[in-house]
């Protein structure tokens, strides 16, 4: 299969879907003529014109709000937040408006809006450009949430996002853009709510997503090589909806669970997975679930500090060893 970068895969998804559906319109800062700070939208303005690839002022609340209005009136907007951190300047339009309009109106309107943003640390960008917000999107109801970890998933999930009538938060990771992987040719979509076993194993189950999934795979490799431990690694892919079946199936085999994510620990996805496992499969657990997640601290710029706040592969290995002790 051909290899693409995560960026290329995303761009292909956008381009193919924009060809398929003339109502898809992209909006965001520097996405047009410049092609996006992370190059995802490169070449799209040339192909689809400035009407469908719209450079906006630095007005996230304004253009996300406009995207909500557009979505209710027949367009299919894709609003790009250059950094996920900027969701906080348009939080009202996201959670009070986009996410609620359908329910609140008793189904009178639908809001087929996709918000794309890259998140995460690892580049030393400091506290205001390194956050991960999937927890907020999972806690506050009304949006579906995808966090692809591979180029193939990125393409397939983005295509799915652009074909559903619900608002979707599509979360990329700044350190995944340059990663490469096989991407199938043709019109392949990946459904929301279907986790993916990225590595099979028998001794414990590791659940993760987005860039942290790569860390989980790295840790699984180390566990196998250095400790003879066989870890199954599950990629959630979407946190709304969340696929518990795949996790419970795996647990029936391994009886041990580790959840790892880059975002802050408290009230994170790890806690939620733990709670649901408690509700659905408590008696499958041979040991307490282990969480390896970001500390409840701002993400510092200095590397030694950033790598302390954000869980590295070594922390996953340690967590797994503790779990198996």
């Amino acid at each position: 299969m051909r290899e693409l970068t995560y960026t290329q895969a995303l761009r292909e998804a956008l381009s193919e879907e924009m060809e398929r559906d003339g109502k898809i319109v992209l909006m965001g800062e520097d996405i047009g003529h410049y092609g996006g700070v992370f190059r995802v939208t490169e070449g799209l303005i040339e192909k689809f014109g400035p009407k469908r690839v719209k450079d906006t002022p630095i007005s996230e609340a304004g253009f996300v709000g406009m995207a909500v209005g557009m979505a209710m009136t027949g367009q299919r907007p894709v609003a790009e937040l250059m950094f996920m951190d900027f969701a906080l300047v348009c939080a009202d339009q996201i959670w009070n408006q986009a996410a609620k309009l359908r329910s609140m109106s008793g189904g009178r309107v639908k809001v087929p809006l996709v918000i794309r943003a890259q998140q995460g640390g690892g580049r030393g960008n400091g506290a205001q450009h390194s956050e991960s917000f999937e927890t907020l999107f999972t806690h506050l109801p009304g949006m579906k949430v995808a966090l692809p970890s591979t180029p193939a998933d990125a393409k397939g999930l983005l295509k799915s996002a652009l074909r559903q009538d619900d608002p979707v938060m599509f979360i990329e990771h700044k350190l995944l853009y340059n990663t490469k992987g096989p991407v199938p040719d043709g019109d392949v979509t990946i459904p929301f709510g279907k986790a993916d076993v990225k590595r099979e194993g028998t001794d414990l189950t590791i659940v993760s997503y987005s860039r942290q999934l790569l860390f989980a795979l790295e840790a699984a490799e180390t566990l196998q090589k250095e400790h003879g431990i066989s870890a199954e690694v599950i990629d959630l892919r979407t946190t709304v909806p969340m696929d518990m079946d795949t996790i419970v199936t795996s647990l029936k085999k391994t009886h041990k669970l580790l959840v790892t994510h880059e975002s802050h620990s408290s009230c994170g996805i790890g806690a939620e997975v733990a709670m649901r496992v408690m509700e659905q499969a408590f008696y499958e657990l041979d040991a307490p679930i282990v969480r390896v997640a970001g500390l409840d601290l701002p993400i510092h710029s200095a590397r030694p500090l950033e790598e302390k706040v954000l869980p590295q592969p070594s922390a996953i290995v340690e967590g797994a060893l503790k779990l198996l002790k």
């Binding site: 209005g69 009202d92 609140m104 189904g107």
Partner: protein, 313 residues
């Protein structure tokens, strides 16, 4: 228009009554006294034009043509309500009349309307035929960030948008002079180079004419218009407001200039309509609302299981 204003007034008076009888939950924000801006503006628009408004938008929605039965049923949180009882007073939404939602967040409806206007612009209608979007908001809303960002983009992209600021002199309990430094709210538009007009919002003809002109501009691709319509809310900010921030005299004085009275005078003076004819129109509206109340009261409440409906498309 006179009849429609009455319909609005009767609707809201019925709501106040029902609120006091505890038939309506949440908060109730009547727009009594502001009917001319609502009706004058909406009658100047096409049925398929888009609109957003606020928690104080009942008159605007009724003016735009919402089914008053469904609207009243929504007030009583019934399954037959415009939003199946889910939204209540502050979230009426009805795409069949172009209504993209009232809104309980000050300023939030402005970018949403701007987005609808962009949608209209993208439709590439023949010159003069484009849909337009109108957004109603208060004098307090001009101090919200979302308003500002939408103003800038609306002018930048020359969107077919009408920004109708109902200046009723107060934002909740805060008088205008305590919330912005402008002598004239319409001057805010200067910071965006946007065309703006200030009008007597209780003069329904002035409102109608101004919105006609604004929509012509918009349909012709000439961009947005900011309209400051001076008006006055005759009731409290919400039912239960102690109204300590204004005197009874001020309200009494304002009552003399209220729009239905003024429209009635005008019809009598310039169009030879008789007092009886006016009273008949008022009675007709009242009957319509009485029927709506009956409909709403007799409608079933939603079943708890309905929370799981209308979640995903």
């Amino acid at each position: 228009m006179y009849e429609r204003m009455h319909l609005c007034r009767s609707f809201e008076q019925a709501c106040i009554q029902l609120y006091m009888e505890k038939e309506i939950r949440g908060s109730l924000h009547p727009s009594i006294g502001q009917e001319a801006t609502a009706v004058g503006a909406c009658f100047a628009l096409r049925p398929d034009d888009y609109m957003t408004c606020t928690y104080r938008g009942h008159s605007a929605c009724i003016a735009k043509g919402i089914d008053v039965n469904a609207a009243m049923a929504e007030m009583l949180n019934k399954r037959t309500g415009i939003s199946k009882g889910k939204g209540g007073s502050m979230h009426w939404t009805d795409p069949t009349i172009g209504l993209l939602g009232e809104n309980a967040i000050v300023g939030a409806g402005v970018p949403i309307a701007a987005g609808a206007a962009l949608s209209a612009q993208m439709d590439d209608a023949p010159p003069g035929k484009s849909k337009v979007a109108i957004t109603f908001f208060g004098d307090g809303a001009i101090n919200q960030g979302a308003f500002h960002e939408a103003m800038n983009m609306a002018q930048l992209w020359k969107l077919p948008l009408i920004l109708l600021c109902e200046n009723n002199l107060y934002a909740e309990m805060t008088p205008l002079a305590d919330s912005n430094p402008l002598a004239t709210v319409a001057d805010r538009a200067k910071g965006y180079n946007m065309h703006a007009v200030k009008i007597d919002g209780n003069d329904i003809v002035a409102v109608y004419d101004t919105v006609c002109a604004a929509s012509e501009r918009a349909r012709a691709g000439e961009g947005p218009t900011f309209i400051e319509a001076m008006t006055y809310r005759l009731t409290g900010h919400m039912v239960g407001d102690a109204e300590t921030y204004r005197t009874k005299e001020e309200v009494a004085e304002a009552r003399k200039h209220e729009p239905i009275l003024r429209a009635g005078e005008l019809l009598k003076r310039d169009y030879g309509v008789s007092t009886d004819e006016l009273a008949a129109l008022a009675a007709k509206s009242q009957a319509r609302i009485d029927a709506a109340v009956k409909f709403a009261k007799e409608s079933p409440a939603p079943d708890p299981s309905e929370v799981y409906e209308d979640v995903w498309a």
